[in-house]
């Protein structure tokens, strides 16, 4: 029987297998940031262990940095604890000899935007980071997943991880999406179908014509959300689209090495005679733009729909969760979701802060502006590019002016209101149309109400002042 893409990457990285069945797997790229690394560096010091491969490690500052005034430098960060954490990272990476893009460096940004943008993320690699959305890098045909801080320390010391093999799952996307529907809608619809635990213990391979037609940035959005379906990782076989995206990036192989690399990368696909432990198919032609109504990413629904009745759920646990979610979200069963008024709009995060995401939102801004519309009264809308380079590219295209003229804020890169660790957060009871990845209670600020959606949908919500079907604007 053939091997899956995941099997092939796994096999290529086995260093040793323990008698108890655990595998020691080699790690090709380790991305780190300020929040989940300090205790790992401290652990190395306590045990007098060197960091094995600083050259395979790349550091950014993204989670707790402010999204304004970055040029003033870390010493000007008002939050003392955040400042100490950022200074600690700077010291640790200097001591260990790790390449680092500090706050304010044009190459800095959200870790899962930076890796691909720098060409460091490549097919067939194993990639880890102390952040659950590391699954993003699977878009390149890499095995990429989040790890905890103890494992960060393990990778520092050994450049390996102890792993048990996950199962193989495949989600095949067929059909052609209608305008206004894209990768974010694919992902939310899938999680709505399989549930937040649906991928637990599995690596999900995304395949099918609708995936082949996606751009790299769309693929990253989809793989990014794999973790919200509980999967260990999400992965897509590399193809010409992948190679074209990598070529010319700073970390990409050059000259003869490029051809060797592409040859090698082409070997990463699932053999036709492979069996997956689990398979599902999703027809994207049937999807409407999708939003969440509750406090779990699986609470997905078409924007055209009505908020579900908690009593309609199958199990007692689900009914209880749905009741609690509706109360938290301030919604009533049976109301059209498109009636929910928003006070905040957030376009950003490692899910949707790349140039194409901003362009998609900008299309809506152009269309709305042409109709004489501005960001609705009482709505505060923020655009936070994923990296300094994304920001620069967007500004070269004039997108910043477009957003600003329509009434959006144009901010500096970082995780920002995706997790609300920096000053960007929701207040109690505020409702937000957000392009991020988690709508958990309190995720964007205590008492904040998050509705996940695509960048185009979030832009539409900014103009409508409520959750809106982007097709009204296109």
């Amino acid at each position: 029987m053939g091997k899956t893409l995941y099997d092939k990457i796994w096999d290529a990285h086995v260093v040793a297998t323990e008698p108890n069945g655990e595998t020691i797997l080699y790690i090709d790229l380790h991305l780190i940031h300020e929040v989940t690394s300090p205790q790992a560096f401290a652990g190395l010091r306590t045990n007098h262990r060197p960091l094995r491969r600083p050259d395979l490690t790349l550091a950014v500052a993204d989670h707790n940095i402010p999204t304004e005034g970055q040029a003033l430098g870390v010493d000007a960060v008002a939050d003392e604890e955040a400042r100490i954490q950022l200074q600690t990272l700077a010291r640790n990476v200097k001591d260990a000899g790790i390449e680092f893009f500090p706050m304010g460096d044009i190459r800095n940004g959200i870790v899962h935007v930076v890796g691909p943008e720098q060409g460091r993320t490549q097919p067939g690699m194993t990639i880890v980071c102390g952040d659950s959305h590391t699954s993003t890098h699977g878009a390149f045909g890499a095995l990429a997943h989040g790890i905890g801080t103890s494992e960060v320390e393990h990778v520092f010391a050994t450049q390996t991880l102890r792993q048990e093999k996950a199962k193989n799952m495949r989600v095949t996307f067929v059909g052609t999406p209608v305008p206004g529907v894209g990768a974010k809608d694919f992902a939310l619809a899938m999680i709505g179908r399989i549930g937040t635990g649906g991928g637990t213990g599995h690596v999900i391979e995304y395949a099918g014509p609708a995936i082949e037609a996606l751009t790299m940035e769309g693929r990253m959005t989809l793989c990014n959300l794999s973790i919200e379906g509980g999967a260990k990782a999400g992965i897509i076989a590399p193809d010409e689209t992948t190679f074209a995206y990598i070529q010319g990036k700073p970390g990409a192989p050059k000259g003869a090495a490029w051809d060797m690399a592409v040859d090698y990368w082409r070997s990463f696909f699932s053999d036709p005679d492979t069996r997956f432990d689990r398979e599902i198919t999703i027809d994207v032609g049937k999807l409407d733009p999708t939003v969440t109504w509750g406090t779990s990413p699986e609470d997905a629904m078409p924007v055209t729909g009505l908020v579900p009745d908690p009593d309609s759920f199958a199990t007692e646990d689900k009914r209880a969760s749905a009741h609690r979610a509706l109360e938290y979200m301030g919604l009533t069963a049976g109301q059209p979701i498109a009636e929910a008024t928003v006070q905040r709009v957030f376009i950003g995060s490692c899910t949707n802060s790349r140039i194409e995401d901003l362009r998609q939102a900008a299309e809506v801004v152009k269309a709305a502006t042409a109709k004489g519309l501005k960001v609705a009264e009482g709505v505060r809308a923020m655009v936070v590019p994923g990296s300094g380079l994304v920001k620069e590219e967007a500004e070269a295209e004039g997108l910043d002016k477009l957003f600003l003229a329509a009434g959006f804020e144009w901010r500096e890169p970082g995780c920002s209101m995706c997790l609300g660790m920096n000053p960007d957060k929701l207040s109690n009871g505020e409702r937000c149309a957000s392009t991020s990845n988690r709508n958990f209670e309190g995720r964007q600020g205590r008492g904040g109400r998050t509705h996940l959606m695509s960048p185009a949908m979030a832009a539409a919500a900014a103009f409508a002042g409520r959750i809106a079907d982007v097709r009204e604007f296109l």
Binding site: N64, D131, T196, G197
Partner: protein, 202 residues
């Protein structure tokens, strides 16, 4: 890592499904560069209201659950962010074992790195344990060697656990030290990698 062989103590029921790591330890507590002291932020938004006052209705604030050592929680416990601060906070608060019908992968791994035992039982078994935990003032026992949870009624439930993980928990092994035993194999792997995939080694 702290050893885990046997644990006796009170258990608190938390029937909600999908308790995520941000609920376990909210983001404002992640700005620390230490592992210690996170217990103060455990379940912060459940324990305290907007003015920082204790919410008396929350289970861990009730006197009957003082000194709780185990949680019995709803499905998919520990989903969300990869923060290892979640098991650190639980342990700092005194919790050494969480029982649920399922755990999110990364949280599950993080528990095993720290000597916090995640026990998976069937949903109806978890519900039965929750019922017994109601009212507090009970002693539950978890025995890793025999893989059993014993409720105050004497009813025992067997759980499954990966053999390698069990051994590491019982002995409190240091994973890095164990892996460094293989340093020769890592060297050889890197040598081969350098020869065949030169472009990937900067």
């Amino acid at each position: 890592m702290q050893k885990f062989d046997r644990l006796d103590g009170p258990a608190a029921p938390m029937p909600m499904a999908n308790i995520d790591t941000d609920q376990i330890i909210p983001k404002q507590f992640l700005k620390t560069v230490d592992r210690e002291g996170l217990g103060k932020g455990l379940f912060y938004d459940f324990r305290f209201d907007f003015d920082g006052q204790e919410k008396p209705e929350f289970v861990l604030n009730q006197p009957a659950y003082k000194g709780v050592k185990m949680l019995i929680a709803g499905d998919n416990f520990g989903c969300g962010s990869s923060r290892e601060h979640a098991p650190w906070a639980l342990m700092d608060f005194g919790v050494r074992c969480v029982i649920s019908s399922s755990f999110a992968d990364i949280f599950n791994n993080n528990c095993f790195q720290n000597g916090l035992l995640p026990v998976v039982l069937k949903p109806d078994e978890v519900h039965a344990l929750m019922a017994e935990a109601k009212g507090g003032n009970h002693v539950f026992s978890v025995d890793l060697e025999s893989q059993t949870v014993t409720a105050p009624s004497g009813q025992a439930y067997r759980f499954e656990i990966d053999a390698a993980r069990k051994e590491k928990m019982l002995k409190g092994l240091d994973a890095i030290g164990e892996t460094l035993v293989h340093v020769g194999e890592i060297d050889r792997f890197e040598e081969k990698r350098r020869m065949t995939r030169a472009w990937a080694s900067s």
